[in-house]
Symmetry: D3
């Protein structure tokens, strides 16, 4: 399957089992901190996997022992994103604002590529998981982590409100809005157990290795189901998050008016009765 894809510069993309892709941020020497070329490439990867028929579920993690990602590469950012005047031809605040809006929107779109990816995305986190780590994590479907993970919504510590996803998504991911306010307003570090208790992660594993393995296992389980059912489930959950129950029901009804015509239903029911593993056409 790897042969279907080009090789990427900042990420390793492998296929640890049938229908499962594994995307790994590959900048361990800098604690997987991100600069612009990286988030642009990340979007390319997820937009590609989204439509790749040989992939049904995706695991996302970071290389090395120290960090899922320490967040933005602040040094790079302070010469770019966070320093709009630098190398800028204008001193007009409104024109700087226009430039910033474009930059933020494009950056947001890269992070959103995990959410709009048609296949479920499971993030396996470990070590330092600061700032952008939370933006990326909340754009995924499921989060697991290693026991050593140190999380922080770090943005207020560098003087800004988190603007590439955390403030919009974290309150819809976690059912404790006082906690969300506290960790976003203080940037305090929290650990794996606290993340588990508030529902930010689904499971905590002893080591990074285990976290990634278990994430791949979970991805494998999802990949064994009908892709029509799985992709419909992800899309309809995402739609429902942002709409009333009435609108959610209406959208799901229209969605399933096509999806229920699939052969996967018969395949799934029959294999269930016959207690064998069903095979589903690619999607």
């Amino acid at each position: 399957m790897a042969s279907e894809l080009p090789s990427y510069k900042h990420f390793n993309v492998t296929f640890p089992r049938e229908y499962v892709a594994h995307v790994e941020t590959n900048r361990p020497e800098k604690m997987n901190s991100f600069f612009e070329a990286m988030w642009l490439e990340l979007r390319t990867i997820f937009d590609t996997l989204s439509e790749l028929p040989s992939v049904r579920a995706i695991v996302f993690s970071g290389a090395g022992d120290r960090a899922f990602t320490a967040g933005l590469d602040v040094k790079a950012a302070s010469q770019g994103l966070l320093a709009p005047s630098e190398g800028d031809s204008t001193s007009d605040s409104a024109r700087k604002a226009a430039k910033l809006r474009r930059t933020i929107a494009d950056f947001q779109d890269c992070v959103t590529s995990l959410e709009r990816c048609e296949k479920p995305v499971i993030v396996a986190m470990h070590g330092f998981s600061f700032g952008l780590a939370i933006d990326l994590g909340t754009a995924a479907d499921v989060r697991v982590c290693a026991r050593d993970t140190k999380f922080s919504v770090k943005e207020v510590d560098i003087g800004l409100a988190a603007d590439v996803g955390t403030l919009s998504r974290l309150p819809k991911v976690v059912g404790n809005q006082g906690w969300v306010k506290e960790v976003t307003l203080t940037a305090r570090i929290f650990g794996a157990e606290e993340a588990l208790k508030v529902g930010f992660v689904n499971s905590v594993y002893e080591t990074k290795k285990q976290a990634v393995e278990k994430a791949i296992e979970l991805a494998g389980l999802i990949a064994s189901k009908s892709p029509v059912a799985v992709q419909g489930t992800k899309e309809n959950l995402n739609f429902s998050r942002d709409h009333s129950v009435k609108d959610g029901l209406r959208y799901t009804g229209v969605w399933n008016s096509a999806a229920l015509q699939t052969n996967d239903i018969t395949a799934a029911i029959l294999s269930g009765l016959e207690k064998r593993v069903p095979t589903f056409e690619k999607l």
Copy 2:
């Protein structure tokens, strides 16, 4: 009170205490699995109880020891809902889709009858509680269960995205969206303790018998309050779920502009001061 109602074919409707109705799915020999005539009758029952003045709170459970409901009667469905071509005069996908939309919309409306019922609905679950069990459970106001309950959002296992409520309502019921994604994408079975921890159920009881008794007790407590206050509380919580806080406040203000004119307030305050049980006019 029973005399106010006709007798039903697939459900037992009883009145275990004043102002409390108990609806029991009565198909234990098939683990209370549902076919179309059943969900149609269920709607009739809840639409009737919604306006019946002698009822102020409702408990919903399943007959027999084995299951609240094992979900759709797959055999029946595979000759109907899940087999749009069977007995169908058309092979046109768009026309099949139109037929499916109508069927799904009507089925959804039956499940929604629990939500739009003006009186609070408490579901007491036990044993197998698969598929439709979750759709029905999330359309109710409060869920309790027996320790032996085995829950599953089973739909992906039969090749479809849950379309009669779970995908729209479960994420708004439970404050852990990663968990919602996991259980809907894997169809894995989870037990009473896990359901309690994530907030899917309010309480776990040792046996089904206890779960139903405690649900009736809770219903009795609610039924002892002002029905003006109780029904207003249910309606305004449901409205607020789907609207901004600003809209929720505006709607509640208009609602209470009539409701605060009730005599129940004086009755409640006086009986509170005099430490006696208030009596409220029917509603």
Copy 3:
């Protein structure tokens, strides 16, 4: 700083540390129960602190040992809000309703002053925290409490649906909607541990004194961060609660197009590198 403010009749406003205000309801002899002049004054206070540059975070608590607030002063209310006919020139239900709508809207606006306050508000609760206590608490950003706190969404017990905030905000604060339905429909008392478990409070402390001290400490921590970052974080979280993720991202992008032009970012990053405490201009 106190000199910048007038003195208030029903509240003590002090400044326990730099940039932190402490608002204390001062009617302990009546368990801090509220009548109309109090909620009007509360709005004045929070609207003032919202724009006071010397304040960056606010703690809100109640005087005395017995109660954060026992809720509405029912005696006062039964001669006013809850008795629309008293002293009323009309017996026309529609005209009474118009009068009630105005009264409720104004009362709601007073409670909302905590939410629209540009600076984060931390509520420290203790003892009786009934009715209005929950409305006020959910309008704040973070809630902590003493171990002895007795919470109740008391409104159904006096014959009404809670209409100054709880029904609109509590379901968005806490990730367990069955629990929300249960406590609002039964008015049952719940304690600190339960409040912690469902996420209604962030922390429980042994005594009221500790709860207030820890709240001030938390406020102090928040006040040490860039006020541009902190106020942007509060506003964008509040916006996102009521909008889709897409709209949240769009709003945050526009917000930060001005906010990222602040000098606080450089100040924060530099002081981070130099491991010293940054100083930020007032806001």
Copy 4:
């Protein structure tokens, strides 16, 4: 086709041409004014036609020369809908309100049956078209009228805000909100020319007879098109009215993912090339 339907008490339902149904309110001696049994029957008719495969477009008009409908039968209403206390067992304002809410919701649902009808509905109006005439007219897809039509949003003249559709739909039908405010706040009568100018009607015809004939002709034209395309167009326009453009596009994309699989497209394109009339399977 008539044989597929029962006969109705208050309406004539005929089939003036292939795939076109004509529903006529039949109470000319009372200027087609409505009482409760009539709007209930109207809902039955439209819900039936909505799914009747032999119908593709519907014309709705009123019998007799004098009125499309003079609106509510005020005499009947003043003993029912508009007199909640009459024959009522309660004097409690909140309980009267609950009863009124149910009645209004049911009445609204009857009017909404024109909107949710899957087939387009063309209303041909003439003579007195007061009150309910506007509620019904705005729930339809297209309105035409005779030159003699006298329109009035009559409700304020009997002391009430129009609550079965006009206030919600008229501002979305007509692009002149100042005019909407004026005619709803004054109840002044306006004629066919004014209705045409503001876009309330599509066309004005000399006589009632012509208006009905032309409406049938228009219905016939619509009925000659692919029913997959026509019904999809109505549904997606109705969805888009109430949602953002982004949501409208998303919904239409999902809708057409099934609809574009129809054989009607090939049939339509081929017959277009061959300049003959296409035939489409029923829907």
Copy 5:
């Protein structure tokens, strides 16, 4: 009635007929251009009239022959609103932005006082009606004008996007979005006839005097109707503008559950039958 009100500095408030108030901007020597103290006072006036029982409809116009209003007093604004740095203690763009947000929000709220006023507001425009004239006009319910009126959405000509109402309200007032784009993007002047054609004004009169007289006549007509019906109509139209039809119907149903209990209905119906003028209790 005038005696119920204080006298105002920048506006004349008179009562030309029973239940009708007339608010006139009184700065003719400066073409009624606005500075901050004026819009603050305008809000005070409309908030007062909103609850004044002796007022049922309001006319708003400008003193003198030359202008309804020429818009912002640019000279005053360029020392205040449009010059955030002037007299400002900060050079930080983010802090300037915070200050601007507060100022704009407060200014918007003053303009919105026409919209939230419970009584209908009719604006009679003449002469120069530039910039703020359109913001104020679109916040009213009905607009009429004199033949000599020269309208312009003037803001782009002074380098800004109109931010106190026009961009949010004009597209919802007028049914021609291409025209809205054109006049807001070019700031070109348009006259009374064009305003009439696109639906921005309801009527054009020969002179300012006539426009004001006819506006008072229209206000008088509205004031002769049941105030319960009139105020309910305004509120429900405003709610429906910003919500789906389904939500509009739901809100109207709840609203009327109180409003239909009014005695005005009987009064209106009886006086209709007896062909006499009804009398309604104040509201």
Copy 6:
């Protein structure tokens, strides 16, 4: 300026006057009908112009005398978009649906590039303007046309509901929803005068040549204004279309908190006082 851009295959892009770009569909021999490579290139062009500082307004028209565009190239489409089974590896309706959703979404995004373009887009139409012509036209800001234009929402005539914009945008562009229903349900051709009357076009010119010249003139006028003001106006009008007035005001306030810090305001006001043409920095 042309030198800043690559040359395009299916479109001519020229710069007829300072700050104005002219995009012309260049397939006159096929009546400018579109196939996939064309709409992909169109998106590239508009996404580029959106950020090109030398462009402030854009005119869009079609080459040749016969057609703005006759719509989809049906022949090409019937081998692609409209023939999902052709060359398809699957016969599964759900998988075909998935493929169709992706295709439609991408096509919609290309059309939406006119709307999201930060600079205003004026479409000048002539001759046949069918199907896609309306989708493109409604995604633009202003529409003008030649007297000979023949418009048609042609989609129902080829068996489908218009899904790349018309059904979502036309009802928000034009203030006559009955007319929208009629022309979308019948596909009947309408001319320039009718388009003008309902507000679909702003102006009608005698010839195509004049229409394009006048569009360029209008673009030139817009391009002479402050680009900060112009781009803010477009964005805020588009935001307001899809949101409540309250949200529109809030968004505009945040937007202008940066935009009002521009030097353009001083430049515009001064040049206005001095009656000279202002110069604005690029954006």
